[in-house]
Each structure stands twice: as structure tokens, then as C-alpha cells.
Amino acid sequence: MSAIVSGAEPLPPAGETAGAPQGERLTHVDTLDAVNTLVSGPLLDRRRWRRWWIAMIVASLLTILFFGSMIYLFYEGIGIFGNNSIVVWGYPIANYVWWIGIGNAGTLISSMLLLTHQHWRAAINRLAEAMTLMAVAIAGLMPIMHMGRPLYFYWLAPYPNTMALWPQWRSALIWDFWAILSYLLFSIVFWYTGLIPDLATLRDRAITPGKRIFYGALALGWRNSARHWHIYQTYYRTMAALATPLVCSVHSIVGLDFAASLMPGWQETIFPPYFVVGAMYSGFGIVVVLCAAARWGLDLESLITIRHFELMAKVMLMAGTVMFLSYATEWFSAWYSGRGVDRRFLTFEFTGAYAPLYWIMIFCNCIVVQAFWFRTVRRSLTAIVIISILINIGMWLERILIVWNTLSHHYIASMWRLFYPTLWDWLILFGSLGFFAFLYLLFARFFPVVSIHEVRELVHREAIR
């Protein structure tokens, strides 16, 4: 430890030049040190975190609600949800698919853009990766809350037990179990690896010994040696290369949870791909919101520029159009199959009990996003944020409707039944949002929300251009 402390004394000049007076905003960054100051400043020098505290209080309350309801759920039994013997799946499943979808986008953005050398990614990939971690963690909780006997969730893992039983490998839920687990751990590794050099920067800029020790320990003694950089780059790029197929497979498997059945509206080969696109779609939506928040809360306007939002808007426009196409394909194949049950199902979607929700979904997922064809909209932050939120509402509706429509309107007419949500369904949903915010605020408080070393590289690249 002594080594860190002694070694981490910053040179006075760097310190001075870095210490931009409080309140003054950097309109754009051109030097490496400006980047350091901008990103690490809030974490290190005594800055007022009023906005943060307000947000934190709200998030904490919702988090308490979330875990409170969870405890009651485990105590009283899942009968507290609105599910019935026919619509046996409900909110937890929809929430799960929704959160895992958001989770996927983080890695997609970070890894795909890295592989395709989209340098603008540098400003947003850290945000996105962190989002992935938290979203996937929450998604992982949902299936457990969905189970009748949550205390036995580990029975899905192959381990030597007295019953000499193993998992049933043909079940999509087993694939799911491994997909979530692998994906969560993988994202943690990926995220932390990317964080190491920045932790080193923070270590070396930290003024108080406490922070120095905290960041120093996490930095693992990273020395920015050119040799290390070389090996590090190799590893990081390979991880990115692995992450992309992993993400796609993860959400394809989520799609298979439905597609690997024989129920009308589920048994569709198009599910895996369009689940992946849907995931990216909603994920980008959330990233947009987070970027806007971070930008506003941490004065990062100069790093996360309107250009970023414009690019993300374009991606969402693409994704939204693909979604529209996928829905259309569903409708067509349902009609083209000629099976009575499929056509009845189609009619039920558009005219049945849940039709209003279905129309809202189509509006949010397919129509609204078309506004991004116009440059003015793409460059208006408020517009983008509002549309992103609408998109995420639409995507949640899509997931709940996949569950509701099929389960409430299937083969046997006598067993058609509707789902009526209870208070607890809503508490879990909004509680999980609060918990996400809670985790995210903690992250923003203690870690750089932008990848410092990559932006440094970016700044240099732009400087020489």
C-alpha cells in the first residue's frame, strides 16, 4: 500500500492545470488532461452532489418497496400475483424479458461498436456496460420471483445430490438459466477489465488516502506499461469478439422460452432474431435516457455530444423498422398458415380484450420511431428522450402481451380466461426500476461513467485530424 501512497503523489502542475474552477463548464475538450479532469473531477474533488442525493432518496424508497414486496411474496406465496391456472405466466416473465433485453444492449453497443471501430462509442460504452450489469442482475431476480418454490431455484444446476437427479436439458428454462448466469458473469468481467486503466488514473489523481487506497486496490497496480497495454488490448478485443455472439445467443434463448412450445403466437421461428433486435431497441432507448441523465448530472455535455444521440437515434430507427417488419411477418404467417387457431389468435390480438394495449404497443414500437427520419428530431434531446421512453413502454407491453395473448386465447375454448394484475404485480415492476436507478446512482458516484483512457485516445485522434 505504501507504494501506492508514495507513488501516487501527483505533480503540482498537472494538479493545477487540471483543477478547473468549480461551476465553470468546459465546452469542449482538446487535451488529455482536460478529459481526466472532466471525468474524474466529480469523483475526486469536493463537489456538491445535491442532484445525486435527491435522485438517490427516490431510488432508495422504490428499492425498499421492491425488496419489501419480494419478502412478502416469499412469505405469502405467488398467489399474490394476478396469475390464474390458465394464464400461469405474468409480470415477472415480462419484466424478465424486458430487463434482459435492456441488459443485452449494453454489451451490443460496447462490443459491436468496438469491433466495427465506431470510435464515438468511447463516450457511451462504460454507461452501457454498467447498465448491462444492473439490468441483467435484476432480470436474474425475476424468474426466481416467478417460481412457485423459489428456494429450490438451484435445482436447475447440475450438481451431485442425494436424489441423484440432473437438470432436464431439453427445457428452454435450463438454457435460460445458463444464459443469464454466463452473461451476467461475463459482463462483469468485461466491464471490470475495461475499468482497470481508469481506476489507475483515479488512483493517481486521488487526493485523499482513502480514495487512493480504494481505487489503488481496484486498479490492481496497473502501470500503463506499453507491454501490458498490448496484452490487455488483445484480451479486451477478444472478449468483445466473444461478447457479440454471446449476447445474440442469450436473447435468442429468451426467444426460445416461447418459441420452443406449441402454443399459437409462440411457436414461431422468427422469435429468436426479433427478440435480439427488440433487445437492442429497448436497450438503446435506456442508454439514451442514461446518457441524458449523466450528461445533465455530471456536466458531460462536451463528451456526450448531440452527435452521439443522433447516431443512437439512427440505430433505433433501424431497429424500430425491423420490429415493424417482424410484427408484419408474424401477422402474415398467422394468416397464411390457415390454421383456425392462429387466425383466431390474430383476430384476438387486434380486436380482443387486450387490443387497446396492442395498438399502443404498435404505436410506441413502430410508429413513433419513424420521427427519427427527420434530422431536427434526431438533434432534439428532449424529443429523443421522450421517444426512447415511449419505446421502452412499448417494448414492455410487447413482452406482457406475448404472455397474455397466447395464454388467454389458445386451443380449448372452455379455458379462455383473462389476466387481471394485482397491486403486487405493479410494485415489483416499479420497484425493480427503482432498484436499477439505485444501483446506477451508486455506480455513477464511485466510478467514471465514461471510459477515460479511451476518450483520451479519441481526443488525441481528433487532435491530429
Binding site: A3, L32, W169, L185, I231, T234
Partner: protein, 174 residues
């Protein structure tokens, strides 16, 4: 543990060009420290990422193979049972679990190899005693050259480094 001269440069280009010149002058380059990865520099200094690649490949494929074996063994040998009259060895559905878990373990093995081949975590390192070391993670590009035997050679080298554009030169241990 060898003593070196640490020279701080303003930017990437000066550093690279300095290394090139010093190489011609037979000066032994010990290491370089940069705020962000400089393409090709590590390779030039002879860093070898092979262990990481190997570890990821072996870790990934090995795990995947093991997973597939567990599936086949448990479903077809250890506890075969009739599930919707599907065959015990339902190989078409078996790849999913191996793939997911294999990718994860490739990442984990790779991380281990990364730490091993970079000697991290190493919280305690003489490099940190150099006052310049803290700048390597921020804005300066450090070059570490072997300390010559005699002091006057050392003085000449210092001048040379300055001539190459180093704004600070410091003695340090590596």
C-alpha cells in the same frame, strides 16, 4: 530490479520517434508507459499476448466439451428417463448450455492469463516511487531506458532525451 532513466514526453508521436532514434543508437529500451494504448508499441517492445489467446481457446473449448459431456452423461447414462418420448441423447438441444458456459469460461481463463502474463495484481512496485509514474496514467508518455554504467554517459543520455523532446527526465528503479 534495474535502475532506469524515465523520460516524459508530451505526446505519442514524440515517444515513438524517440524510441526509433534511440534504438538506432543502441540504447536499451526497458519499457514505455502511455496514458492509452499506442498501436504497435507493445509489440515493438516484445510483449507476447500468446498465453492469453491460448488460455481463452483452451478454457473455452475445454469447458464447452465438459458441459456437453455432462449433458450426455446425465441424460443418457446416469439418469435416462422418458420426457415426452424424446430420445435420451437429444443432441440437437445440447449445444446451448456448452456454448453459453464456454464463452464465460473463455473470458475467465483469459483474465487469469492476462493477470499472470502481466504480473498483476502487483500493488507494490518500485515504479510507483518515481514521481513521474503518476503522470503515465494521465497525460504523459514515459520512456524507460537502461541507466548507463558511468555517470557522464548518463548525463549524455539525459541531454539526448531532452533533445528528443522529453520535458522531464527522472532516475527510477524498475
Amino acid at each position: 530490479m534495474s535502475s532506469v532513466l524515465l523520460a516524459a514526453f508530451e505526446d505519442e508521436e514524440r515517444l515513438v520517434d524517440a524510441i526509433g532514434k534511440l534504438r538506432e543508437e543502441r540504447v536499451r529500451i526497458v519499457d514505455a508507459f502511455t496514458p492509452y494504448p499506442v498501436e504497435g508499441l507493445g509489440a515493438a517492445l516484445g510483449a507476447n499476448p500468446f498465453p492469453v489467446r491460448a488460455a481463452m481457446l483452451i478454457g473455452g473449448l475445454g469447458t464447452a466439451g465438459l458441459c456437453w459431456f455432462i449433458e450426455w452423461f446425465s441424460a443418457a447414462i446416469a439418469f435416462p428417463f422418458d420426457s415426452g418420448s424424446r430420445p435420451h441423447n437429444s443432441w440437437p438441444v445440447f449445444p446451448l448450455f456448452p456454448f453459453e458456459f464456454g464463452v464465460l469460461m473463455a473470458g475467465v481463463f483469459g483474465l487469469a492469463a492476462l493477470l499472470w502474463s502481466t504480473g498483476l495484481p502487483g500493488l507494490n512496485h518500485p515504479f510507483f516511487d518515481a514521481r513521474l509514474s503518476a503522470r503515465a496514467s494521465q497525460d504523459k508518455f514515459l520512456l524507460a531506458v537502461a541507466m548507463p554504467e558511468t555517470t557522464d554517459m548518463a548525463f549524455r543520455l539525459r541531454d539526448r532525451l531532452a533533445g528528443l523532446g522529453a520535458d522531464t527526465v527522472e532516475e527510477a528503479e524498475l
